[in-house]
C-alpha cells in the first residue's frame, strides 16, 4: 500500500474491510475513511491563501462550467467574523456546516469575553469539531479542507485545516486539485515582505498556471483582510484589475 502527501491510497485486497467504519483502524494504524475524505478535497476546486505583513488574501477559482449559472450563488469564501474569512475546497455542503459552526464560535467568544476571537483559537475549535467526526460511530468525516485567514491583535494569520482535524499555519498555501502545482510556484516566488497587491497577483499567477482553463473574473472570488480594512470580497472590477496585472 502506498500513501501520497494527501493520502493517495491504492487499496490492496488484503486491506478490504478496514474502510467500513470510520472508528476502525487498519492493522497498520490508518483510518481509511479519513483518507478518503482527503481525496474529496483533492478533487475540489483549487483554493489559495497568501499572507503578507499587511494582511491576508483568499483566492478561489470557482470553476464554473455553464454560462447559465448565476455565479454569485456559488460561494466558496465565507465571512466568519469582522476580520476573519474562510475559503473551502471539497464538499461545499460539508463546508457550510463548518462555516455555521465557526460563525457561532466567534459570536460565543464575544458574548463570553466581549472580545473578538483570535484566529488560532477559532481554528482549534473548528478542528476539534472536525476531529469528533473521525472518532465516533455513525458519522462520516467532513469532506472538506478549510483555509482560515484573518487579522487579530497578533497580526495576520493563515491556517489550513484538513478532514482529520489537523491544522497548520502557512505563509502561502493551496488546497484542492492543483495544490502541488500552485505550491511549486509559491515556493519559487513568495517573498515575506511582498505587498498584499503583489501577493494577490502571485496567487492568481499560481492559479492561472496550474489550471487547465483560462481564469475569468466571473468565476474568481477574492477576499482580503488587511491592516486598513476588515474582511472584504473584491468587486468584479477589482478582480478584473488584478487579472490584467498578470497578463
Amino acid at each position: 500500500m502506498f500513501i501520497g502527501r494527501l493520502g493517495e491510497v491504492t487499496m490492496q485486497p488484503g486491506q478490504m474491510g478496514y474502510d467500513r467504519g470510520i472508528t476502525v483502524f487498519s492493522p497498520d494504524g490508518r483510518l481509511f475513511q479519513v483518507e478518503y475524505a482527503r481525496e474529496a478535497v483533492k478533487r475540489g476546486t483549487t483554493t489559495v491563501g497568501i499572507k503578507t505583513k499587511d494582511g491576508v488574501a483568499l483566492v478561489v477559482d470557482k470553476r464554473i462550467t455553464s454560462s447559465l449559472v448565476e455565479t454569485t450563488s456559488i460561494e466558496k469564501i465565507f465571512h466568519i467574523d469582522k476580520r476573519i474569512g474562510l475559503a473551502t475546497s471539497g464538499l461545499v455542503a460539508d463546508a457550510r456546516v463548518l462555516v455555521d459552526y465557526a460563525r457561532v464560535v466567534a459570536q460565543i467568544n464575544r458574548v463570553s469575553y466581549n472580545e473578538r476571537i483570535d484566529i488560532p483559537t477559532l481554528v482549534k475549535r473548528v478542528s476539534d469539531f472536525k476531529q469528533t467526526y473521525t472518532q465516533y460511530g455513525g458519522v462520516r468525516p467532513f469532506g472538506t479542507a478549510l483555509l482560515v485567514a484573518g487579522m487579530d491583535e497578533e497580526g495576520p494569520h493563515l491556517f489550513e485545516t484538513d478532514p482529520s482535524g489537523a491544522f497548520m499555519a502557512y505563509k502561502a498555501v493551496s488546497i484542492g486539485m492543483a495544490r502541488d502545482e500552485v505550491e511549486e510556484i509559491f515556493e519559487e516566488d513568495y517573498e515575506e515582505d511582498m505587498s498584499l497587491d503583489k501577493a494577490i497577483t502571485l496567487a492568481l499567477k499560481g492559479l492561472a498556471r496550474a489550471g487547465e482553463t483560462e481564469l475569468k473574473s466571473r468565476s474568481l472570488d477574492i477576499a482580503i483582510i488587511s491592516k486598513e480594512e476588515d474582511f472584504k470580497k473584491l468587486s468584479k472590477d477589482e478582480v478584473e484589475g488584478y487579472l490584467d496585472s498578470i497578463e
Partner: protein, 217 residues
C-alpha cells in the same frame, strides 16, 4: 440566611500610573457578632489580576475559585494572558446566569493587561463597570467620600497604597462591620501581583495616625 450571613466589608481598588492598588479589611460579621478577624477577601487570579469579595463569604470564595480556574484554562488554551475586559465580562455572565438565585456579592476585579491598569466593579445582578476607582461593601460610602476628595488620575503606585490605607482606616473607624487589620496589594506590569507586608502597612498606619489622629486597625 441573611441573619447568619457573613457580610459587611470594605474593599477598594484604584487605577494608578503603573498599575493598580487593591485592598480590603479583614472583618467578617454575623449580625452583630464579629465572626472572623482574619478573613481573606483578596484573591490573586492568574498572574495579572486580583479579585476582592464582599457579601456572602461562601459565594465570593466560590466565584474566586471559578474565576481562577476559568482564567487558567483560557491562558493554557490560548497561550495569551486574559484581558481584564474578558474576565470581567465572563464573571458578569456567571453572575447574570444566577438572576433568580443570585450570588450575594459585590466584587472588584483589578489588574493589568496590554491596555494598562483596570478596576472593574461587579454587582450581584451582573452589572460590570470599569472605573478609575471603586469600592464595595458596607464601608463603601465612607471610602467614596475619601476617594472623591483624594484620588488623582495618574497618581503613583506608592501614593495609591497610602491612599488605600487611609481609606480603610476611615471605614474601619466609622463602619461597625469593617476592621481587624487590612490587606493591600499592587499589580504592576513590571512586578505582577505583590502584597504589601504587615510591617510596611503598620508604618503607613502609624504615620496617618500621627497626622490625622485616625486609629490604627
Amino acid at each position: 440566611m441573611e441573619q447568619n450571613a457573613k457580610k459587611g466589608t470594605t474593599t477598594l481598588g484604584l487605577v494608578c500610573k503603573d498599575g493598580i492598588v487593591i485592598a480590603t479589611e479583614r472583618r467578617a460579621t454575623m449580625g452583630h457578632m464579629i465572626a472572623h478577624k482574619n478573613t481573606q477577601k483578596l484573591f490573586p487570579i492568574g498572574d495579572n489580576m486580583c479579585l476582592t469579595i464582599a457579601g456572602l463569604v461562601a459565594d465570593g470564595q466560590l466565584l474566586a475559585r471559578y474565576l481562577s480556574s476559568e482564567v487558567e484554562l483560557y491562558q493554557l488554551k490560548r497561550e495569551k494572558e486574559m484581558t481584564l475586559e474578558a474576565s470581567a465580562t465572563m464573571l458578569s455572565n456567571i453572575l447574570l446566569g444566577r438572576r433568580w438565585m443570585p450570588f450575594w456579592v459585590g466584587l472588584l476585579l483589578g489588574g493589568v493587561d496590554s491596555k494598562g491598569g483596570h478596576i472593574y466593579s461587579l454587582d450581584a445582578a451582573g452589572g460590570s463597570i470599569p472605573d478609575n476607582f471603586a469600592t464595595t461593601g458596607s464601608g463603601s460610602p465612607f471610602v467614596y467620600g475619601v476617594l472623591e476628595d483624594h484620588y488623582k488620575e495618574g497618581m503613583s503606585i506608592s501614593e495609591g497604597v497610602d491612599l488605600a490605607v487611609l481609606c480603610l482606616m476611615v471605614s474601619s473607624s466609622r463602619d461597625s462591620a469593617s476592621g481587624d487589620g487590612i490587606n493591600v496589594a499592587t499589580i504592576t506590569e513590571k512586578e505582577g501581583f505583590k502584597e504589601i507586608s504587615e510591617k510596611d502597612i503598620d508604618k503607613k498606619m502609624s504615620k496617618i495616625n500621627k497626622e490625622k489622629g485616625l486609629k490604627k486597625v
